[in-house]
Every structure is written in structure tokens, then in C-alpha cells.
């Protein structure tokens, strides 16, 4: 017998973050915990489940079969909690909260670090975040970050950032493959790709007038954060919006050989439902986001096509 205990909420968050970041340390960083705490939480959850959820590979974790099952349900559970909070926030009468859905990568690497400044300047505006909410509840949100070409019927879409997509790799990798003299050299490299944006490499090939785009090997990841981590780890070349990896470029962990890149149609947008009455607080938030986005793209004005 075993009336299996349910995992703790923080345990679920740890599992979800581990799936997204691939290492205990970076998941800990994202959760504002220490590596030690995350390691212990994972151990707890695995004890509750009764079997390991991640394989320890020596340079990070990768989900086991059980882990993949568990991660999926953990995200559903977390999404339900977020949905609950979002729907309840909509009931609050006095000063209704703005319900904002953020994408994992954009939230972690761009939005959240900046948002604290907004919160300081506008303490009266209450923003309710969701990141796990299932797609069919997004319609309840007041604003949703999305990735695409900016066309969602029924939604106003304002460009945020991400048009400036660059080719990056770790210096070691590029040294090992002896640089990139012509664009065709790229085909010799292993390439990294995000599962949900599969057209990136084709777009790039097209923009560079590269025919016969048949790369040596393509590795796909479920999260953009894993793509970036793999690129930093020298596992291949990746196409990434410049604005998301400013730190890595400045720190030399990633480089942009020959300044290669292109202007992508697919990028990040802030979308707001058309059919809702104007909301002053929402307008303030949107204006601030767009302004911050412009500033952060102009701070690095090495724009190229």
C-alpha cells in the first residue's frame, strides 16, 4: 500500500524550472533559491514519486521518461493555480489587477529584470502574472506576450523586440570548426533549434541566399533557455534574438561570427484584446514596456540585416 503524498508546490516549481533550465544551478537562480535548496526539493519530489525524474548526466539534468510525464502534469498543476489567481484577480472590484501572461524566455531574460523598476514607479498598478496558464485561458488575460509575425485576429499587437536575430556560438566551438569564412561553412556546424520556432534556420538561409540548406546535424530543444545553454556549452550554432543574450555577448561566452544574422518576421509582441474597454493602467504598462524595449534594442545599435 502507499497513499502517495502529493508533492509540494515549490517542488512542482522546481521540477518545471529544472525542465526549463536543465541544471540545478540555473533553475535555482531562476527561482531565487540556492542550488542546495533546489537539489533537496528535487530529492523530495523524487521520494514522493518513488522514482528518479531526472538523469544526472554530469553536466546537468535531463528528464527521465517518468520525468517527462511528471513535468507535463506539474505544468498543468501550476497553470491551474495561476489560472485561479488570474480569474480571482478579475473579480477584484476596486482596482482590478492587470493580468499579464509572459513567455518563459522573454520573462526571464528581459521582462522580469526590468519590471521591478516599473513596480517601483507605479506601486498603485497591480500586475498579476501567469506563465504556465493553458492557452485556452489566455483570452482572459489583459495582455499577452506572444511570438509570431504580429497577426492575431482580435488582438492588437505591438512590437516589442526580437527582430534582430543573430547567429551565435561559443568561441571554443567556432575555433574548433575553424571559423566561418563563407556562409556555407555554417553547414559544417551542428545547429541548435527551438522546437516551437522550427522555421528559424530556413528563414536565415533564405535571408542569406543560401541554397541547399542541409545542415550536418540539428539538435532541438523544448525551451529557448536550453538552446542558449547548449550554445554556451559549445554544442552548436544557434539563432537567437540579440536582445536576449546581451550579457553573454558582452561577457564573451557567445560570439556572433562575422556579424551574421537577419531581420526576422517572427519576433516578440505584446498583444492586448481588441474587444475590451480602454484601461488607463494597462496603457501605462504597455507604453512602459514598449519604451523599455526600444531602449534596450537601441543600446546595442549594431543592427544588421
Amino acid at each position: 500500500m502507499s497513499r502517495s503524498h502529493l508533492p509540494s508546490t515549490i517542488g512542482l516549481r522546481v521540477v518545471a524550472a529544472l525542465a526549463q533550465y536543465g541544471t540545478v544551478s540555473s533553475a535555482a537562480n531562476a527561482l531565487h533559491l540556492t542550488q542546495s535548496a533546489v537539489s533537496k526539493q528535487l530529492k523530495n519530489v523524487e521520494a514522493v514519486v518513488g522514482m528518479p525524474l531526472f538523469d544526472r548526466t554530469g553536466q546537468g539534468l535531463s528528464p527521465t521518461q517518468a520525468g517527462m510525464i511528471y513535468i507535463e502534469q506539474a505544468r498543468i498543476a501550476l497553470g491551474a493555480m495561476e489560472t485561479a489567481a488570474m480569474r480571482v484577480a478579475a473579480l477584484r472590484s476596486s482596482q482590478p489587477a492587470i493580468r499579464l501572461h509572459v513567455l518563459p524566455i522573454l520573462g526571464d531574460r528581459w521582462f522580469m529584470p526590468r519590471f521591478s523598476r516599473f513596480a517601483e514607479r507605479h506601486p498603485d498598478i497591480d500586475v498579476q502574472f501567469t506563465t504556465f496558464a493553458p492557452t485556452d485561458t489566455l483570452e482572459e488575460a489583459d495582455a499577452v506576450f506572444r511570438f509570431g509575425i504580429g497577426e492575431w485576429p482580435g488582438w492588437r499587437a505591438d512590437y516589442v523586440l526580437g527582430r534582430d536575430v543573430i547567429l551565435v556560438g561559443s568561441p571554443q566551438l567556432i575555433a574548433k570548426y575553424e571559423g566561418i569564412a563563407s556562409i556555407a561553412d555554417i553547414l559544417r556546424y551542428p545547429l541548435l533549434e527551438h522546437l516551437q520556432t522550427p522555421l528559424r534556420w530556413n528563414d536565415f538561409a533564405e535571408a542569406c541566399h543560401l541554397r541547399d540548406f542541409t545542415p550536418a546535424r540539428v539538435t532541438r530543444f523544448g525551451y529557448y533557455s536550453l538552446v542558449i545553454r547548449a550554445a554556451i556549452g559549445g554544442q552548436g550554432l544557434a539563432l537567437v534574438p540579440r536582445s536576449l543574450i546581451l550579457d553573454e555577448l558582452a561577457g564573451g561566452q557567445l560570439m556572433n561570427p562575422s556579424g551574421l544574422g537577419f531581420t526576422s518576421r517572427n519576433c516578440y509582441w505584446l498583444t492586448t484584446p481588441d474587444d475590451r474597454p480602454p484601461n488607463a493602467s494597462l496603457a501605462v504598462l504597455r507604453d512602459w514596456i514598449l519604451q523599455e524595449a526600444q531602449a534596450s534594442e537601441h543600446n546595442n545599435p549594431e543592427g544588421l540585416s
Copy 2:
């Protein structure tokens, strides 16, 4: 601003139990906690949510509008955790766990109190319970308690209990309305009904050859436990499987006036998928359940039609 914390798992369980039992004390009992602990957990969750989830009515709790939203999502979140456990249990190779889905009322009032005996006698058989799992994942279970007439295509159904449905009310209520001399007197009483089994009263009227069944007032509840609580509280007459309220009948909190009742087609069944290879452990569990059910119905052999 407020990056709203997520509630704790025990908080979700408390909210779900409160919805089901309607009082802090009985929810605490069901969760094997004290009233104090449940009260504090509820306070925590309400603090996280930012608004009250239940109205304190003086004789229990009833969900606020926000509460109803939250309860729904809490059940989804808990269901996801259970689903995760269930699916992972299916992967365990050595001695696969039996995945058993129990109905709230049957589990609380009949199955769980008895199950510990089974667990003692068969420590080698690992049973994995779900109670919140969404209906579309039930197909993964090895055995599912269901309520109905015993016909589910693709499932073998064994009768467990609940055919013997009796009319009950609190002694005070029946005194107040001056007894039940003829069956038609029932129409003078307020009636209590479970939302998911709406045909009960019609079936009863039919079994008693009662024409023109137009009761004075019908109150509906989402959980059978609330129906029973309301009946004990003297809020009306209810139709309840005798086996679920043996204690209340023995203790005099509920009485069965004039022995009224009927044999219902709708009752509790243990169902197992047809298409699965025979499983010795499952057969042991099923036999034990059916035997216990027979025993508990025969212990009170005042069966009537």
C-alpha cells in the same frame, strides 16, 4: 505590483475539502488534521489569493464567488498531481501499482476506513489512489469506482453497494413537520438532492407510485457529503444509500421514517477495463472489495423495497 505566491499543496487540499464538507471541522477530520490547522491553512490561502474564499456563516462555510473559481482550479491542480502519480506508477516495472480511482463520498464513508485492513493483510500490493483525476484520464486506471446502472461499454462492472436507498431526515425535522403518515406527506418537506444524481427523487416517486411529484422546495448540493450534512442539520429529507450512513442511523442523527425507501438501479460499481491482461493483485483487491461490500450490506439486513 504583486507577484502573487502560489498556494501550498496542503492549502489546495484544504480548499477542496472545505468545499466538499462545508465545515472546517469535518474537512479537518477528512484530512487527518485538526480544526485549528485547517483554519490556519485556509487563512494562508486566502492571504495568498488576496480575498476571502468562503463566507463564514456561523454554521459552516460556503464558497464565495472567488471561492468557487478557486475550488475548481484547485481540483484541477490536485487532479494533475494525481494524474502524474498515476502515470508514473504505470511505468514502475517490478510490481506495478494498482491504480484505483475512488469517488469522494464512497471513499470517505466506506472504502477508506476499510482499506487499511486490506493494506495490512496485503502489504505487497501497492495501490495508487486518485480522487481528483479528470475524467479523461480515468481510462488509465486499473479500477474505477463509478455510480450508475452498471453499464459502461468496455468495462466490466461489479456491483458494490448502494442499491438500498432510504429516505432520511433528522428527527427534529420530522417532528417539526409532524411525521410522515402517507407518502404524499413527503411533498410538504423541503427535499435535498445531489447535483450529479438528479433522478433520485423521480425514481423514488415512481417506486412509491406517487403521482404528481411536485415537492415544496428542493435544495441541490454539489457533493453528497453536503447533502448528508444538510440532512443531519435538519434542512430537509434526502435519499441516501443506507450503507453510507450506518453510523448516523445508529447514532440517531438521522432516521428513516416508516422505513421508506426503494431499490435503486443507480448505485456504486467497481469497474475494470475489459481490454487489459488479467492481473492477480487486482483480482485480489476486487474480491476483497466485493466481499467487504456484501458484508457491510448484510450487517444491516433491514433491506426493503
